[in-house]
C-alpha cells in the first residue's frame, strides 16, 4: 500500500508542476513505483513538462465517466521504468469533478503504486479541494517571497483543517547570493514564519527553463544543483536520512556577528 501526496502552494508559478515532475521521476529512479496525477483540470501542464503530451489518450475525466479503465488511462514515461502519468482533461472545468471521485482514483492507485503524487492547481477553490481530497500527506512548495509565503500559510491552515498530516515544506528557487546580500528572505526566516517541517531547498537553477523546453525533467541532467536537490528530497521521501546542505546564506558580516554572539 503506497501513499498519496498532494503537491500544492496556493500561489501559482512557484514550481508545483516542476516539483511534481522531478520528484516523481526521481522516486522512480530510486526504483519506486510512481504515478503522477495532474489535478489541474482545464489548465493541464504536467504532460508537457514530462514531454508526454503526444502520448495522452485518456484523462482522469474519462475514468470518472467510465469511458476507460484506470490502468488504461495511465501514460507510461518515456525514460524511466515504473513511472506513470494520469493526465487531466483539458476540455472540462475544475468543478466537473467531485472530491469523492478524486478520492476514489487515489485509493485505487495507491493499492498498486508506492507513491501517488498529485499536482494541485493554484488557488483555494474546488480544484485545490479535489487535489487534496485523496491525499494522505502534503508537500507545500513556496518561493522565498512575501506573496508565495503568505499563500502557503493559508494553504497550510486549510490542509490542517482537512486533517492531512504531515505537511512538509519545499523552498524553491532560493538564491544564496541574494540572501547574503540581504535581498531575499532566508531559509530560516521562511521556516520560522511557517513553522512546518522542511523537506528540502531547491536552489535557483536556470537549467529548469531548458528542461521544460525539452520536456525532460531536470533530474535527468547530471551535476545540476536543482537536480541534486530534487534527488535528495526524493531520498528523504523514501525514508533515507539525507542532510539538507547548508547553502551558505550567511554573509561574511553575519559570520563575524555569529562569532561574537557565541563569545558572550
Amino acid at each position: 500500500m503506497g501513499k498519496v501526496i498532494v503537491i500544492t502552494s496556493g500561489k501559482g508559478g512557484v514550481g508545483k508542476t516542476t516539483s511534481t515532475a522531478n520528484l516523481g521521476t526521481a522516486l522512480a529512479m530510486l526504483d519506486k513505483t510512481v504515478v503522477i496525477v495532474d489535478a489541474d483540470v482545464g489548465l493541464r501542464n504536467l504532460d508537457v513538462v514530462m514531454g508526454l503530451e503526444s502520448r495522452v489518450v485518456y484523462t482522469s475525466m474519462d475514468v470518472i465517466e467510465k469511458r476507460c479503465e484506470l490502468s488504461k488511462a495511465l501514460v507510461k514515461d518515456r525514460r524511466v521504468e515504473n513511472l506513470m502519468l494520469l493526465a487531466a482533461s483539458q476540455r472540462n472545468r475544475k468543478d466537473d469533478i467531485r472530491p469523492e471521485q478524486m478520492q476514489d482514483i487515489c485509493e485505487k492507485l495507491k493499492e498498486d503504486y508506492d507513491f501517488v503524487l498529485i499536482d494541485s492547481p493554484a488557488g483555494i477553490e474546488q480544484g485545490f479541494h479535489n487535489a487534496a481530497a485523496g491525499a494522505d500527506e502534503a508537500i507545500i512548495v513556496t518561493t522565498p517571497d512575501l506573496s508565495a509565503i503568505r499563500d502557503a500559510d493559508r494553504i497550510i491552515g486549510l490542509l490542517q483543517n482537512e486533517g492531512i498530516e504531515p505537511i512538509n515544506l519545499v523552498i524553491n528557487r532560493l538564491s544564496a547570493t541574494l540572501v547574503r546580500k540581504g535581498n531575499m528572505i532566508s531559509k530560516n526566516d521562511v521556516l520560522d514564519i511557517l513553522n512546518i517541517d522542511l523537506l528540502g531547498v531547491i536552489p535557483e537553477d536556470t537549467g529548469v527553463i531548458a528542461s521544460t523546453n525539452r520536456g525532460v525533467p531536470l533530474v535527468h541532467t547530471e551535476r545540476s544543483p536543482g537536480a541534486e536537490a530534487y534527488m535528495r528530497i526524493a531520498r528523504r521521501m523514501t525514508g533515507q536520512r539525507v542532510p539538507i546542505p547548508d547553502m551558505r546564506e550567511d554573509s561574511f558580516l553575519d559570520q563575524i556577528a555569529n562569532w561574537f554572539s557565541k563569545k558572550k
Binding site: 512575501l146 503568505r150 500559510d153 535581498n183 531575499m184 528572505i185 513553522n195 512546518i196 558580516l253
Partner: protein, 85 residues
C-alpha cells in the same frame, strides 16, 4: 546594538519583507482587521497597566503556528525597576 548595523547603512529589503510578512500573517491568521487588532492590543494594555508599568508602544502581538493549532503571543516588556503596584 546589532554588530551588523555598524556596517550597513539602510535596512535590508529581506528584513523589511520578513517584518511585513509577520504583520500580514498575524492579521490573516487572526481573521480580524488591523483596527480590531489595535483595539484588542489597547484594551489588553489597559488591563495590564493596572498592575504593571510599561511603555505603550513597546507592546506587540503575533500569532504563531504550533503543530495543528495557533498560539496568540503578546509581549508586554516592562523594566525591572518598575514595581508591581
Amino acid at each position: 546594538m546589532d554588530f551588523r548595523s555598524l556596517f550597513t547603512r539602510k535596512s535590508k529589503s529581506s528584513s523589511i519583507a520578513t517584518q511585513r510578512l509577520q504583520l500580514i500573517l498575524t492579521q490573516d491568521r487572526f481573521e480580524v482587521s488591523e483596527d480590531s487588532m489595535k483595539k484588542l492590543q489597547l484594551e489588553l494594555t489597559e488591563v495590564l497597566a493596572k498592575y504593571f508599568e510599561f511603555t505603550m508602544n513597546s507592546v506587540s502581538m503575533s500569532i504563531k503556528r504550533e503543530g495543528n493549532s495557533y498560539v496568540l503571543m503578546a509581549d508586554f516588556p516592562y523594566s525591572k525597576t518598575n514595581k508591581i503596584r
